[in-house]
Symmetry: C2
C-alpha cells in the first residue's frame, strides 16, 4: 500500500496518509488539532483548509455548496471531505485550529524614558473672523507653534484633505500628532497616541501595540507569517519571488495584509482604530525587510548577497499599503548585510550588549543564525546557514513549537522521558526537543562523535535503509506510527549545529579570542529561549563556558523594535550599531571548510592541529 | 418655429438651432470650426462631440457602429448625425476642432540664473566585490556625497524599488536627481533634466516644459481646462463639487489627467518621456489649486471664504496621481486668500513689481479679477467678482478668443470697423472686442453715462423688449443672424467694469493714494494683454493715467511659475510675497456699496461728494 506525504502548514508537521483517509483524519493521527465540530460530516465547515500543492479528490456536494468556484479554484476545501491522490501541501488557517500556535511575543523588559518620534499636542485655535482670515492650515500651524514653541511647517497631504471638514465640527480644537516638522494626523481632543512595533520573522510575526505617551505595551500578539505557503525558509521564498514575478506581488501583499489585520485585531482589543496608530517600527531579517518594502530580492540570492539598502528607512505607510494614521511613517530598522538583518540589530540594541565591555557573544538561532561577537565595543557579525532542522524542518517527526510537540527529552538508563507543549499526547518533536535528543543520544553513547547511530540499544532499530531511535513507540501511541529520530535526522542536526559553531569559531579567530575569554553568551529568539543550554554545549553547538555566562533573552528583536518605536535616541543607536558592525562573509574566511568539518563532530569543538 | 439654444464648450459660443438642423450645421452657422472631413455623411467620424446636457435625437446606425454603448451613455455623438430636441450643452474635444483655440502661453521673458530645487549629478560607483560589500543604496549615496560634497541621505521608496535592477545593467554608472537630501530619480548617464511649469486657469491650462540645466523653455502649450464641462466659472464649479460628491472626484481627476496628457504631449515633442520630468511647479487660483490637490472647496463657497491652505506645498507627484519621475514633487505656489490665488503671486513675482518703489497697480483680469496695489513694498490685494462678460459669457454674441471672434472694434461716423481673430468672417465678439464696443458706443454717444442705449443711430434697433446695436448685420452675414450688442450686454459689462474699478478704488483709499499717484499699471493675463487700454480708460474701468504708464505683460503667471520651477530663490520670494500681502475683503470695506454704484457709471470715475 502506498502512502502520500502530507505537509501541514503553518504548523510545519509532515506525515503519511494512505489513500482513502481524509485529510482531517490524517491530521488527527499526526496530532494536528484541526477543528471537527460536526465530527467530520461536512456540515459544520470548521475544518477549512487550503490545498497549496498536490492532487486531492474532487469537491463533494457539501463543499460545492459551501465554497464559491473561485475559492475552490484557490484550493479551499473541507479537510473532512477531501482525500489526497498524491503528495500534498496544505495550509491550515488559524480559525480552523483548535489550539493556537505558540508564538513568542515576550521579550526582555527594560525601563527607559519614552521620547517617541511622534509627539501629540492639544491645540485650541481662535475661530476665523473678518479680522482673522487665516487659512485653516496657517491657523493650526501658527497656534501650535506659538503655544508649544515648535517649528512645525507642513501638514501631510492626506491630513490636509480632511482638515477643513474636521476642524469645524470639532469647534477649532484638536490633538495634532507631529513628527519632525510635519503634522501627520489630527484627532478630536483628547485622543490616544498608539504606536505599532513589528518583529517580522520568516515564520512568525510578533506585533506590539504600544501607548506612546507612557511606553506601556497595551497588546502583544503573534501570528504566523502567511508567506509560509510560498516557501518555509528565506531562500525558497526568494527563489519563488525571482522565478514567478506573478506570485511575487501576491507574496509581498500577503505580509502587508497580515500586519494590517494584526494591527486591526490588536487595536480592537483596546477599542481603538488603526487610524490612531501614529508611528510604526518594523524589524525583520534582510529578506523579510525587502519583501515588506516591496524591494527586489534578486541580489540577495547570489554572491556577494548584497541588500538593496542597509540604512534605516522612513517610508510613508501609504506607500507601503499599510492603513494607519493618514500621514504616518513606517520606520524600518537598519540591516547589516544580506543575511544579517534589522532583527539582529534590534536584538543587539535591546540587550545593550553592543556597548558592553569585555568579550561577548550574541546569537539569534533560526533557519538562518546570526552571531555577533562584541569585543570591547567592536562588533563582528556572521550569518550561518543553519537550516530548518531546529524548527522541525527536514526532520522525520519534526514540527514547530505547537501543542503536542516534545520540547524536552532525557534518556535515563532504559527510559526516555519527555515533556510536550501543553502536556498533550506527543505528536512530534520541536527544535528544543530535537536538540535534547541529540545531546542525550550522544551522552548515552547511542550515537558516536561522528553522529552514527550505533547498535546495541533496544530502542534502536532499522527502518527502511536507516537506523532510527524510537522516542515514543507505536504501542505508546496506541498503534499510531512511532516517533523516532533517524540517522538522517542526526545528519541534519549535525549540519545545523556545525554551521552555527563554525560562525562562532570564525568570529573568535577573526578577533584573536579563545572560547574561554567569552564573558557572556546571549541567546535570543523563540527557539533560543527554549533550548537547554547544557544540551547545546554537550553537542558542541555552543562554546563550553560556564552555564551562568548564558542568558536566554526571548524575543529581544521585538523588544528592540519597541525601543526604537518609543525612543528617538534608541533609533539613532540602532543606526550606530548597524553602521559599526564589521560583517564577515563566512565562505570567504580563510580555513572555513576545515573549521566546518571540525564543527560537524558531535561533542566539544577541537581545533584540528595544522600539520 | 421654435429654436433651441445650443451652448458649445469649450469655445464658449452659444447659438440658436432650429429643429431639424444637425449640431454640425448649427456649429457651422455660428462659425465654430468642427471638422467635417466627409461632409457630414457620418463616415469619417471626425465630428465627435459630447452632449453634456439637454435632449438630442436617438443615435443613428453609423453612430451605433462607431461608439460603444458606454460612450453613447456618456453622451458621445457625431455632430453631423445628431439633432437637438431641446436646449443643449455640448463639449467639442480638441481633436474635433479644425482650428485650435488661442491660448496664451507666452509671457514676459526675464533673464536669471537657474538654480533649480532639483539638481543632477553623474555618479560612477566602484562595483561590489568581496572587499566592498556595501548595499546598493549606501554605494550610491556615499559615492555621490563624496564626489560632490553633498549630504544626501535618502532615496525615494519608488526609486529604491528600481535601484538594484537598474544599476547593474548600467554598469554602476548613473545620473542621480537630488532634491534637498533625497534622491528622487536615477537615469542612465547622461540624461536630460526636465521641469514642468503649469499655469492652471479656470478656463485654460498653460504648460511649459523647461530644461532645468539652462532654463530654456523647450515646449509651451495651452489646452482648455476640461473641468469647464462642469461649470464655466469657479463658483459654479465649486457648487457642483459640493452638491455632487460623486461628480467631485471625476472633476478633480479630470484636471490631473489633462495635465498628465499635456506633459506627455510636450515631452513627445522633444522625444522625452514624462519620467524625465524631475520637478513640477503649479500656480492657479485658489479654487483650482484646491481642486488640483484634491482639497475640499466647501469653505471657499461661503463667507469668510477661507482656503484650506495658503502656504506653498511640496507634495509627492504620486500623491496627486501625476506621472513624472518616480520620486518627484509638485511645488504648489502659495495662495493669498480664497479668491486671490497662487497665479496672482506668480504674476507679482514675474513682474518684479512687488519690490519696486513708488505706487503701482498689478491687475489680473478674468472671471475673477485680482488687483494688488504696491505702495513702496507694501502690498494690498483685493478680489473682484467681475464675472464672465470679458470672456464672452452672458453676452448675446459673446465668445472666447477663437477664430472668427471680433477682437477690435471702432465706430467712425456711420461705419463700424472691426478685426477678427485669424481674419475669418465674424462669428461673435470676444472680450477685447466687447470692451472696445462699449468704449466706442460711449464715445459716439450711442450709450450714455448710465449705460442706456439711446435712440437715433440707424444701427440701433429694438429686438424683443430691448434695444440693441448692430455690429454686423444679417445682410453682411449673408442672411445669418446679425451680431449685436444688446442693452442687456451693456448692463453685464457695466457690472464687470464696476467690480474691477471698485477694487482699484478701495485699494487707493485703503492706502490713502490718489489715482494720479499711480506710476505703473501692469495688466496681466490673456484678456489683459489683448485689450485696448484707451478703451478701458474711456469706460472708466481703469484709472485715467497716461497710457505710457500701462504695461501689458501677457501670461505673467505662467512666467512666474517657470521662475519658481527654475530657482529656489524665486520659490522663497513667492512665499515672501504671499505672506506679506494685506488682503482686503471688498464687501466689508467701509463705503463699498457707494463706491460700486459710482463705478457703474460709464466714463471717468468720479467720487460722489459726501454731504
Amino acid at each position: 500500500m502506498s502512502f502520500y506525504t502530507i505537509d501541514f502548514e503553518p504548523v510545519g508537521r509532515r506525515g503519511q496518509c494512505p489513500p482513502g483517509k481524509s485529510l482531517l483524519d490524517c491530521a488527527g493521527e499526526l496530532g494536528i488539532g484541526i477543528l471537527r465540530t460536526c465530527g467530520g460530516k461536512g456540515t459544520c465547515h470548521s475544518c477549512k483548509v487550503q490545498v497549496l500543492k498536490g492532487g486531492v479528490s474532487e469537491p463533494s456536494a457539501s463543499e460545492r455548496a459551501f465554497f464559491s468556484q473561485a475559492e475552490i479554484n484557490e484550493g479551499w476545501r473541507l479537510a473532512c471531505q477531501t482525500y489526497p491522490t498524491s503528495d500534498c501541501k496544505l495550509s491550515i488557517p488559524p480559525l480552523s485550529m483548535n489550539v493556537p500556535q505558540r508564538t513568542q511575543v515576550e521579550g526582555l523588559e527594560m525601563t527607559f524614558l519614552p521620547e517617541p518620534a511622534v509627539r501629540s499636542y492639544h491645540v485650541e485655535m481662535p475661530p476665523p473672523s473678518l479680522s482673522d482670515m487665516r487659512a485653516d492650515t496657517e491657523r493650526l500651524l501658527q497656534t501650535l507653534n506659538e503655544r508649544y514653541q515648535l517649528y512645525c511647517h507642513t501638514i501631510d497631504i492626506d491630513v490636509l484633505r480632511q482638515l477643513s471638514p474636521q476642524l469645524r465640527p470639532w469647534n477649532w480644537q484638536c490633538q495634532a500628532s507631529v513628527r519632525d516638522s510635519e503634522v501627520i494626523a489630527i484627532y478630536p481632543w483628547p485622543a490616544r497616541q498608539l504606536g505599532l512595533a513589528v518583529d517580522l520573522g520568516t515564520t512568525k510575526i510578533a506585533g506590539y501595540l504600544v501607548d506612546l505617551s507612557n511606553g506601556q505595551t497595551l497588546v502583544a500578539k503573534g501570528i504566523m507569517n502567511p508567506q509560509i505557503g510560498y516557501g518555509e525558509d528565506i531562500i525558497s521564498r526568494i527563489t519563488r519571488v525571482i522565478e514567478s514575478p506573478a506570485e511575487s506581488g501576491r507574496l509581498k501583499d500577503l505580509v502587508i495584509e497580515a500586519i494590517g489585520q494584526l494591527a486591526a485585531d490588536m487595536c480592537s482589543e483596546v477599542k481603538a482604530g488603526v487610524a490612531e496608530i501614529v508611528d510604526v517600527a518594523v524589524a525583520g531579517n534582510t529578506a523579510m525587510h525587502h519583501l515588506f518594502c516591496k524591494l527586489p530580492v534578486k541580489s540577495l540570492a547570489s554572491a556577494p548577497f548584497l541588500p538593496v539598502v542597509c540604512q534605516a528607512l522612513d517610508i510613508k505607510a501609504r506607500d507601503l499599503g499599510l492603513c494607519v494614521a493618514p500621514g504616518a511613517y513606517v520606520h524600518m530598522l537598519p540591516n547589516i548585510a544580506g543575511f544579517v538583518g534589522a532583527d539582529h540589530v534590534a536584538m543587539l540594541l535591546a540587550t545593550g550588549v553592543w556597548q558592553a565591555e569585555g568579550v561577548r557573544l550574541a546569537i539569534d538561532i533560526g533557519t538562518n543564525t546570526e552571531v555577533s561577537l562584541i569585543d570591547n565595543g567592536n562588533i563582528t557579525s556572521v550569518s550561518c546557514a543553519s537550516g530548518p532542522a531546529f524548527e522541525g524542518g527536514h526532520i522525520k517527526d519534526g514540527m514547530r513549537a505547537a501543542s503536542g510537540a516534545i520540547e524536552r527529552l532525557r534518556i535515563e538508563g532504559g527510559r526516555t522521558e519527555y515533556q510536550t507543549i501543553e502536556g498533550t499526547p506527543p505528536t512530534g518533536i520541536c527544535g528544543s526537543g530535537i536538540l535534547d535528543a541529540l545531546a542525550q543520544l550522544y551522552r548515552t553513547g547511542i550515537i558516536n562523535r561522528r553522529g552514527m547511530i550505533t547498535d546495541g540499544d533496544p530502542r534502536v532499530r532499522t527502518s527502511g535503509k536507516q537506523r532510527e531511535f524510537t522516542v515514543v513507540s507505536e504501542q505508546e501511541r496506541n498503534g499510531q506510527p512511532a516517533i523516532t529520530v533517524t540517522q538522517h535526522d542526526v545528519r541534519e542536526l549535525q549540519l545545523a549545529k556545525a554551521a552555527i559553531r563554525t560562525g562562532i569559531q570564525v568570529l573568535l579567530e577573526a578577533n584573536s579570542r579563545a572560547e574561554s575569554e567569552i564573558e557572556q553568551i546571549i541567546i535570543a529568539g523563540a527557539f533560543g529561549s527554549y533550548i537547554d543550554v547544557v544540551s547545546a554545549i554537550t553537542i558542541g553547538m555552543l562554546p563550553a563556558v560556564s552555564t551562568d555566562r548564558f542568558q536566554q533573552v526571548g524575543n529581544a528583536a521585538g523588544m528592540g523594535t519597541k525601543l526604537v518605536l518609543l525612543s528617538r535616541k534608541k533609533r539613532a543607536e540602532a543606526e550606530t550599531i548597524a553602521s559599526r558592525v564589521r560583517y564577515i562573509e563566512l565562505a570567504s574566511f580563510p580555513g572555513f571548510m576545515q573549521t566546518f568539518v571540525q564543527a560537524s563532530y558531535i561533542g566539544p569543538y577541537t581545533r584540528k592541529k595544522s600539520r
